[in-house]
């Protein structure tokens, strides 16, 4: 019956396809793509985000953000530094945790849940809890233990504030990456592992020669997700440090948000977001091509 389909069946089929995809497509267009195109348009104007009138300024906004906007440059530096640290630490940590937890059994199931729980709590709530921990919590610990480390101002100095943000985000998201790696490790065909073990593969060598190459698809996904997550970091900054002290933990996303809603410079803010989008696009494309090449086919 399938082969005997009439010519117009193809059309019907196509219509079916269009009918089912259209709602999703429309939602994506309206909420993401059309606003994006509009923001390119707004980036060419001097606009306060509220008024009905805007002044066309050409590429002035772009020139301004690259020449005189020192705080934006600071935010870019912070974001790049944060992304570099975050991606490396969260992925290495996730793999280290995933290796023992990929065995079946009750213990590893409990372990997986423990690591995953921070991920399902709202980042805003988590940030507030950690703010307490780093503040009055550490004060109490300092009194209790007398350790110097608890006396440091973790949120009050820019160097330590960087690590505070890093520790919080890694703690919060490591469970998510762990799950992906666990799935990857479980998916390695058992016969390959056994064959390698018969050949004497053990320990670190086994990991680098057998496990890692075979979980490369997971690595690609995790690096990609953590890269995007790090570059777009916003909520932690909002609830945890407010970009402070002195704008030292302001991310690009935070800077754009403040430009638009605290300084009423929507045109400049959209110009920044267009630049940001282009940068993220380029970085992720490079990352994906690089890692895709390293995936092995079995």
């Amino acid at each position: 019956m399938f082969l005997k389909r009439k010519p117009h069946a193809r059309l019907v089929n196509g219509l079916d396809f269009a009918m089912f995809t259209f709602p999703a497509l429309a939602v994506v267009l309206i909420t993401t793509n059309i606003p994006f195109v509009m923001s390119i348009y707004y980036s060419l104007f001097d606009w306060n985000g509220l008024s009905r009138s805007m002044t066309f300024v050409g590429i002035d906004n772009f020139i301004r953000i690259f020449t005189i906007d020192a705080q934006f440059m600071k935010a870019i530096q912070f974001t790049i530094r944060f992304a570099a640290f975050y991606i490396v630490i969260v992925n290495i940590l996730a793999v280290i945790i995933a290796l023992p937890l990929s065995k079946s059994g009750l213990v590893s199931q409990i372990g997986r849940s423990c690591f995953y729980i921070p991920n399902i709590i709202s980042l805003i709530a988590v940030s507030l809890v950690w703010r307490f921990l780093f503040g009055p919590g550490f004060d109490a610990l300092a009194d209790l233990t007398g350790l110097e480390i608890f006396k440091w101002s973790w949120l009050g100095t820019s160097t330590l504030a960087f690590y505070s943000v890093l520790i919080l985000t890694v703690w919060q998201s490591v469970g998510f990456y762990m799950i992906i790696y666990v799935a990857g490790i479980i998916g390695i065909p058992q016969d390959i592992v056994e064959a390698a073990e018969i050949d004497g593969s053990r320990g670190i060598g086994h990991f680098f020669r057998i496990t890692l190459p075979l979980i490369m698809p997971s690595v690609t996904v995790c690096i990609f997700t953590s890269l995007i997550g790090a570059l777009k970091l916003f909520d932690v900054v909002l609830a945890f440090t407010k970009g402070g002290p002195g704008g030292s933990t302001a991310t690009v996303a935070w800077n754009i948000y403040q430009e638009a809603f605290s300084k009423y410079r929507f045109g400049v803010a959209t110009a920044k977001s267009v630049v940001f989008f282009a940068a993220v696009l380029v970085i992720t494309v490079i990352q994906l091509t690089f890692f895709k090449k390293r995936e092995v086919e079995i």
Partner: protein
């Protein structure tokens, strides 16, 4: 039988309909402000007006995120019926959506100076709110216990005072360095002192380049005072936000903070026995300027042109600001001087108000200059000073960055 039952049911349902439609649907007003203090008093007034005039209020107090809520609402055409605005350039973006109140009888009750704060090109664009005072604020009991009676006249005297407090085992400062707006407001005192009588002159000169942050008479002294707030401050002072700073003052854990008169209801809530007063800010050591507190109008409330019932909205605005209930609410609840000519027969409650009145009468006040900054400057100003306080910038770097920020904003 079945048919009879359904007819009866239908009749019952129909009879219920007219009752429902006779009750007039309430008018809906959306109210937005950026108030963090004393909101329960305002809500009470709104509910009372609502009950009397069949108005249903949607009330949003948004001390954080006011900007994005307003941007979202305005751009989607869903402009709140009545919304709070800061005085000065911050009002401009909303002007085209607001009712022009020039000559409207509801303005009669207001103090003229406050009306001029919400007037642009001769048009009154908002109903004004009461004036606020901002300066150092100290815990009187702590000062009394330490035997301090004299306010410092110079920055050196402020330091001596801190030494004195410290020698008595008291932590002098719990400055809210984490809330960068506090540092920004303190710095405003130093800019305002440039020309006490005419803040617009200072703003104009900064705009034209005739003055720079490097050549402002007292601006560099901000950094000296910031240094003092750290040297004589609580441990981890950079982690103190406005709330922790207020708690420390109320409980006597520290003697001095920097805050505005709006904070009194909350400070009293933290410690009902707290005694408070303002300390004018010394801005120099050379005696060329006396210490002052900042005092002035902060803004008001705009009414939306597109409101469903502008007349009723005006009636509400008048009730909310100039009615006897509103005057009492402001005087006794918020503990802020009402913006009206008529004042409460019971006076304005509040130790801070008494203290501020003393300094205003004594000629020791200066206008709230920060409301006249170019839009967007104030936000970054505080952050840059915070960067200095955190040790990330030197004074020279900070002044250059502040100048750059002004030039971008003007």
């Amino acid at each position: 039988m079945k048919r009879l039952a359904s007819i009866l049911l239908t009749l019952i349902l129909l009879s219920a309909l007219p009752i429902a439609s006779f009750a007039e649907a309430p008018v809906k007003f959306t109210y937005i402000d950026f108030q963090a203090y004393g909101i329960e008093f305002m809500d009470e007034l709104m509910h009372k007006f609502g009950a009397e005039h069949n108005v249903e209020f949607e009330i949003i107090h948004s001390a954080n995120g006011y900007g994005d809520i307003m941007a979202g609402r305005v751009n989607s055409g869903d402009i709140p019926d009545i919304f709070q605005v800061e005085a000065g350039p911050a009002m401009v973006p909303y002007m085209e959506y607001a009712v022009d109140l020039t000559g409207d009888p509801i303005l009669e009750g207001f103090v003229d100076e406050l009306l001029s704060g919400v007037t642009f090109d001769g048009k009154v664009m908002a109903v004004p709110g009461g004036p606020v005072c901002i300066a150092f604020m100290y815990n009187k009991k702590v000062f009394d216990d330490a035997g301090i009676t004299k306010m410092p006249q110079t920055i050196d005297e402020l330091e001596a005072l801190c030494e004195e407090l410290q020698s008595k085992g008291v932590t002098p400062f719990a400055f809210g360095h984490q809330s960068s707006w506090i540092t920004g407001q303190m710095a405003a005192s130093f800019i305002s002192q440039e020309n006490v009588l005419d803040p617009t002159d200072t703003i104009d000169k900064l705009n034209s380049g005739e003055l720079t942050f490097d050549t402002l008479k007292y601006y560099k002294n901000v950094f000296k005072v910031i240094d003092l707030t750290i040297k004589y401050g609580v441990d981890k002072t950079m982690e103190y936000d406005w709330e922790r700073s207020e708690v420390a003052l109320a409980n006597g854990d520290a003697a001095i903070i920097h805050m505005g008169s709006w904070a009194e209801p909350l400070l009293v809530e933290f410690n009902s026995e707290v005694e408070l007063a303002f300390m004018p800010i010394p801005v120099t050591n050379d005696g060329s300027a006396i210490p002052r507190i900042m005092a002035g109008p902060t803004g008001g409330w705009m009414l939306s042109k597109s409101s469903a019932d502008v007349e009723l909205l005006k009636k509400f605005a008048a009730y909310f600001t100039t009615s006897d209930e509103a005057i009492e609410m402001s005087s006794q609840g918020l503990r802020i001087i009402p913006p009206t000519k008529k004042q409460s027969p019971n006076g304005v409650a509040g130790m801070l108000n008494d203290s501020a009145s003393y300094y205003v009468a004594n000629g020791q006040s200066t206008p709230l200059i920060y409301v006249s900054y170019p839009l967007g400057f104030e936000w970054e100003h505080g952050i840059l000073l915070q960067a200095y306080a955190a040790g990330d910038m030197t004074m020279e770097e900070c002044i250059a960055a502040v100048q750059n920020e002004w030039d971008m904003a003007k």
